[in-house]
Symmetry: D2
Subunit: 352 residues, 4 copies
């Protein structure tokens, strides 16, 4: 059960970064969706390594092969099987890791959990897995045409956008390589990442996601609250350390008289500190949330670590890794959002 997300629109995935392929099965995709395959590829390209000077230079074409569930360009309602071949694995880069537990990676925990480990790359904890999510998310987006999902980089290290998302032109997200819609801040972020990269170091950041035109009524009251499902999805992304929606942590410092969203006559609200969700159910206002990413653990610096016998030794990353994961994580946040939204959309459809 640990490799699936969703109930009615369910993605199940497989694959390690250094095996023959990664891929997945989308079960429950509605029939009759006319797929724009170029659009799916465009989403994959947004996540792709090697896309700019501030990402890893690893170069995977990330081409999806669709194996089932599609006929004459349309979904048939049967499961969509797909795979993305691993073509550029450079497993050599990892031979130095055979017996070594990289700090703040999953090597140690995998070994203890399973008693066996594919030491070439991170196994299932490799971020390559997220390419699968992009495929399922891109298809979900095409089904949910009216719902608009936009994520962007809102901070890199201490450099942060100070405007609210309502003050931002979300159409400018793709205008720069760091995916921050404020051009001035974007430039500062890019410079920061370049500096960090030169130091052989890495840096964390925050992504903000906005979901608009959501129908009222999506989300389930108790254990499948809409924001809880979004939160769980986001916390599934590698390196994510925090999730907040609406007023978030800042809301904890406020008084009720400041925080309550007063209704307009049409059911919309004057403010939106609730973040578009009340009692776990969408209220038709914009949904927005933030996702915090820690810095990537693989450094191009020497670090002390241990091997599986407990010997202390020094290691230095040799694979090709991102100095900041956030720009490439923007489409991942959108994809998981889309998967969650379509799932709740279908659940609500079964009801009315």
């Amino acid at each position: 059960m640990s490799n699936s997300i969703g109930n009615l629109y369910k993605l199940t995935t497989f694959g390690e970064s250094h095996g023959p392929a990664i891929g997945g099965i989308i079960d429950g995709c509605p029939a009759g969706i006319e797929l724009d395959f170029d659009e799916i590829q465009r989403e994959l390209n947004r996540r792709k390594p090697g896309q700019s000077k501030i990402t890893t230079q690893r170069n995977e074409p990330d081409t999806v092969e669709y194996l089932s569930g599609i006929f004459e360009g349309k979904t048939t309602g049967t499961p969509i099987g797909f795979q993305i071949k691993n073509t550029n694995q450079h497993s050599k880069d990892y031979t130095h890791n055979i017996d070594v537990y990289r700090p703040s990676h999953a090597d140690y925990t995998y070994d203890k959990k399973y008693g066996i480990r594919d030491y070439r790359g991170g196994g299932r904890s490799s971020a390559r897995e997220t390419a699968n999510w992009i495929v399922a998310g891109a298809i979900a987006k095409q089904y949910l045409k009216d719902i608009k999902i936009n994520a962007f980089t809102s901070s890199v290290g201490e450099i942060s956008i100070s405007k609210t998302f309502q003050e931002i032109d979300l159409s400018k997200i793709e205008n720069n390589i760091v995916r921050c819609p404020d051009e001035h801040i974007a430039n500062l972020m890019i410079k920061k990442i370049e500096k960090i990269k030169k130091e052989g170091d890495t840096i964390g950041g925050v992504i903000t996601c906005v979901i608009q035109n959501v129908p009222v009524g999506l989300g389930e009251p108790v254990f499948d609250k809409l924001h809880a499902a979004l939160g769980k999805a986001m916390l599934s992304i590698n390196a994510v350390k925090g999730f907040e929606y609406g007023s978030g942590f800042n809301g904890s410092t406020m008084k009720g008289s400041e925080h309550n969203d007063i209704f307009n006559a049409d059911g919309s609200t004057k403010t939106n500190l609730s973040g578009g969700i009340q009692g776990g159910i969408s209220n038709g206002m914009d949904i927005y949330f933030k996702v915090a990413f820690k810095p990537v653990a693989t450094l191009m610096q020497k670090q002390q670590t241990i091997d599986s016998e407990g010997n202390i030794l020094e290691m230095q990353g040799k694979g090709r890794h991102d100095p900041c994961v956030v720009p490439r994580a923007v489409p991942i946040v959108e994809a998981l959002s889309a998967i969650v939204m379509v799932d709740f959309y279908l659940q609500q459809r079964s009801r009315v």
Copy 2:
């Protein structure tokens, strides 16, 4: 599916605050656990309304009736059905709400979702539901004797504990009514809540939870990462707006060379910014996370709102509500943590 939590230790719940009873079914509880019923009641009493001057004065005895799954004081492995009768509903307090949507409550979204609504209290969105979670969590705690779960109030409004949890004596949590183990800060918090209550207002806060003595290897790699399941559980609690674990949002401002947890020879780590979880799997270090609560939406002040026809009107809370939900939410955070931990513990047991 929306009223269940867990896979192998699964709690399914029912009940509204103004019906005859709330309750639940625990499916998958291991057989042979000798239950300490007084201990379960003590946990319920920590959540109970009316327990101190800073909580709602509503007074529910919250007595659990066990209906099945227990024989001669021990669990039998069959489902544990239980109920808690609603005895003190004061439904009159709510008759003024029949047609009114309270601001930042779930009234509006429930009505739109289901087309029908039990207007006496919040329906399933009532915090009374959390008493069910306490029962299942208290039983989970009794099974997981070695794992220690302690939550405490770490901030109320702007008043915040500045020490790390390692610098705090967790045995002092229950020493005061706000459940903050730092006596000085606790007093400031209590004063703050009393002041807010006098104003007819409410205030938010933050709870920190620490889980200790966790075996290595709990958690599933991709979509059931241990922290993602904890996060989803916490985001299921009423009024929660954010979740972070380990370094959290602050980790997003750090560099990898600062953030990485360097191993000791025995596999433990010198720092613990990872928060006891790497790659979604427990690494044996202390798990810790923070949960942000917004201020309670029901105010003893006049607020503008609308009714179901879209008429704008004024309303004022007349029920008995908490000025700050955080002190009573401490045992809820612990209970959900225990439910999540036992579920992953059993999953891992099926594997080795």
Copy 3:
């Protein structure tokens, strides 16, 4: 997971025959169904012990208490919690069983599985559990008003109805205590059961169920074929040893040229050996299937058996048990059918 049935309309149950109560939670029941509570009670009365001379004389009132999910007589979309108190347990009847494994009961397997056992009655394997199913099934029937579900006793021992269900007047099922719509055969069955009862013995039988007015398109292609879900549900009933639908076992002796159902121009078929389901999906024709019940294992005769130490001893049933379970199982077959049908109905609704 083992105490739940259904995905979108999900019943989770609890309760042993000798604890305080049995009951369940129906999660996913659509909102706004106006419930006829008398009708639910009528269904329970059809299952009730003590209803006629050919059933056990145990007398349980089987009164349902609804605890949630219903407001002003209508379902609210939130979970329906309910309980049925155990009022007439006669646990004394079972004290002789403390340490004894009754032949062809679940005593031995429960003890080995869980290492502990509530020896008063059959624990979860008690047929009392099926009262819970009746409640959920009766509500499902009220939602699925157009779909007609009728089960009847088609054989008791060797006495069997020879007519096809199409030749039978299904409105006559309740005309006699054995629930066989053919009056002549019914009388033979009743005499047979009376004779068996006098001998202190028991006898098996077969129930046929017919589901009519089913929309085309219910059922899922591979692992949730409509007949597979019906089969699993039926095989969950105590004492069931076999399930067949459409042509069933007899179909295995036929040639394709005899077995194929030729289409009429409107998509209906001239014959219906398929049993209303093709490729796991309803085709709009009548669904029909048969369920085989073994004789009840508790005899009012001496039998050899063992105790938990492996000592061989003699025992004789002293509880009040049915000489033939089939007449009381008729409403159970219908109830589970209704639960399965509503679940697939809602699944299909999410899709179109």
Copy 4:
């Protein structure tokens, strides 16, 4: 959810017979199993078309590509992705079907359910899907080394083995192409199938499956009884119309005094009409059940049918189909049995 089987050992599949590939993901396979890939292929070859004169002459190599979850020949505990390419589709054979609903196939129901249909072959209802099950079942068998699972052809049309499985030498199943361990009956069956094939007709049959060396305690009491899960799995196989275990339908004609299995001192039973399962839980005796298959619906004879407009027309099968599906279904019955058994085995492991 409809394309998955299992809870802790979960197979999710995709693929139509006429797309690029079929395949699946096995989630929850325990780590550290040393896989015998030749043995998996041998199981696939038992299912393969073209293996003898009494099966379809379609010739698919059915070679599995393993895409993940295996490292240096051992399972790693991560999901095993695999695919089997479709190489010999002869889609031309099906062009005559574009608009035609074949009698007793799923064409009509798929079209009505999804509003779209891949008319080349049967879509997900193609028996090619079962090759995926063989892969997951063969891996399950390698994990469950001690549990022996043997299925065989026990009848073809009216020709039936009269011996009980205890009187049969199960090692002789593979000695003939019809997979009946009684050589004399096997020859009669083969002649029958050859005759039927010459007529352009098809014939049904029955498979018996025996599962031995099962530990006591597998199976869950109420809705996941071991036999109910086996029954559901078997009813998922194309063309299956019935399932019975232990005494089966014949048990319905018996008296309790004849049917009860009397214990030996060691907990084994003198007879085994229960079929190795009591109260849904394995009792350590041999589990056995029968699965009834209807005749294949595709005939090499002219049949009347309709097209999607309701025009009545004549059609004749031109694809290459089996005159009797039973011999090739023997390994399918075993594979699904293995998947069910490993799932319950892991569930029980989580408990003790």
